[in-house]
């Protein structure tokens, strides 16, 4: 991309330097390329953006709204999950709500408290747990339920290239080959109507690029982190990966690119049959009782 070369805000891996205007153009073009390359959207869609108030989902909502504003056949709304994390979600939640008001995007809020009659804080304090794993199970469950309720045709999440590279490595380090098959730019595509397919428009965006886009557009300047974040295996993998990227530029890109090379094989190997539903809650599930219900059952029966 050509640039006026005034006050560059970033130097890409290719060595190109971009000013803020041209960086934003580059960024938005790259999203459109991602959408086309992986066929993330059809002509007519109702996209529900999973909004957390963090930089990724805030940028996603902002960019999609900007890119699709002329499209009459694509509508956008936002879903926010309140996990019940004291001090953290209240701040990010307010920021998310403010952005929705500004962009005139309808916002639907779902809370663990209302849906599960508990909070993540309480789940964590009541047992030895892996906060991010349990948080993730319940959040994914709720996002799907919410997206379906509002008749969304796609659920868009802010996962970026760094997130994906981390997940790929984590699965390898734990030899979770079957889980590996569930990564990729589009997930949850099954014949089940209970599943709203998930798309990752930031699939090819470096985390730093997303953060910069957010910063430039005034979506992000105060940094908050979830109090449970440090406990995770992901944090370890992330830090090591960033060290490798620093000494071997392009490493993250290559991890994701080589994963995409073998993804079709993984899909073939782990091709699922029709997804059955959970006998407790009726949500889609790969076994008789879904992960969310199993988890909630364990909490109750302590």
């Amino acid at each position: 991309m050509d640039c006026c070369n005034r006050n560059p805000v970033i130097e890409l891996n290719s060595g190109t330097k971009l000013c803020r205007t041209h960086f934003c153009k580059y960024f938005e073009k790259k999203i459109m390329r991602t959408i086309r390359r992986f066929r993330l959207l059809e002509k007519k869609e109702h996209i529900a953006v999973a909004l957390s108030g963090g930089k990724d989902s805030m940028s996603l909502l902002y960019a999609l709204k900007n890119l699709l504003k002329r499209s009459r056949k694509i509508s956008i709304s936002a879903i926010l999950i309140d996990e019940g994390i004291q001090g953290y979600r209240s701040k990010t939640g307010k920021r998310a709500a403010a952005l929705c008001r500004k962009l005139k995007v309808p916002l639907h809020i779902f809370s663990f408290r209302k849906e599960f009659n508990t909070t993540l804080d309480r789940i964590i304090s009541s047992r030895d747990s892996h906060p991010c794993t349990e948080c993730g199970i319940l959040r994914r469950y709720l996002l799907n339920k919410a997206a379906r309720k509002f008749k969304a045709t796609k659920l868009a999440t802010g996962h970026n290239l760094d997130d994906e590279a981390q997940a790929i490595l984590m699965n390898q380090l734990r030899r979770n080959t079957a889980l590996q098959a569930r990564l990729g730019p589009v997930t949850g595509v099954t014949t089940s109507r209970m599943f709203v397919p998930r798309i990752k428009p930031f699939y090819l965006m470096l985390e730093k690029e997303v953060a910069l886009y957010a910063y430039i557009n005034g979506l992000y300047d105060e940094y908050e982190s979830c109090p449970y974040e440090h406990d995770s295996f992901r944090a370890v993998v992330r830090d090591k990966l960033n060290d490798i990227e620093n000494s071997h530029q392009g490493a993250k890109n290559n991890i994701v690119a080589s994963f995409l090379d073998i993804l079709p094989l993984l899909h073939k190997r782990y091709a699922g049959k029709d997804i059955p539903t959970c006998r407790i809650c009726g949500e889609p599930s790969s076994s008789d009782v879904c992960n969310a219900c199993k988890l909630l059952g364990r909490i109750k029966h302590r």
């Binding site: 006050n7 803020r20 985390e207 910069l212 940094y223």
Partner: protein
């Protein structure tokens, strides 16, 4: 020269002493920060690592990693 640096995890601004014509990269090296993990705003403008700093510049360092 002296540069004012603000990092969210620090409670207040700190002054860092650097040699003349030091760059953003030099500052990050001195603070032991990986450039992949931060955005550096010089006088409230995002900047690349090769930018040369001047005395009395104010630098804000924003971590890019996120959770949740």
């Amino acid at each position: 020269m002296k540069i004012e640096v603000c990092i969210p995890s620090w409670k207040e601004k700190k002054s860092v002493v650097l040699k003349e014509k030091a760059t953003v990269k030099d500052l990050l090296d001195k603070l032991n920060l990986n450039p992949v993990t931060v955005i550096v705003a010089v006088n409230n403008e995002a900047s690349i690592e090769s930018r040369i700093l001047r005395g009395r510049d104010t630098v804000k360092i924003i971590p890019v990693v996120s959770g949740g």
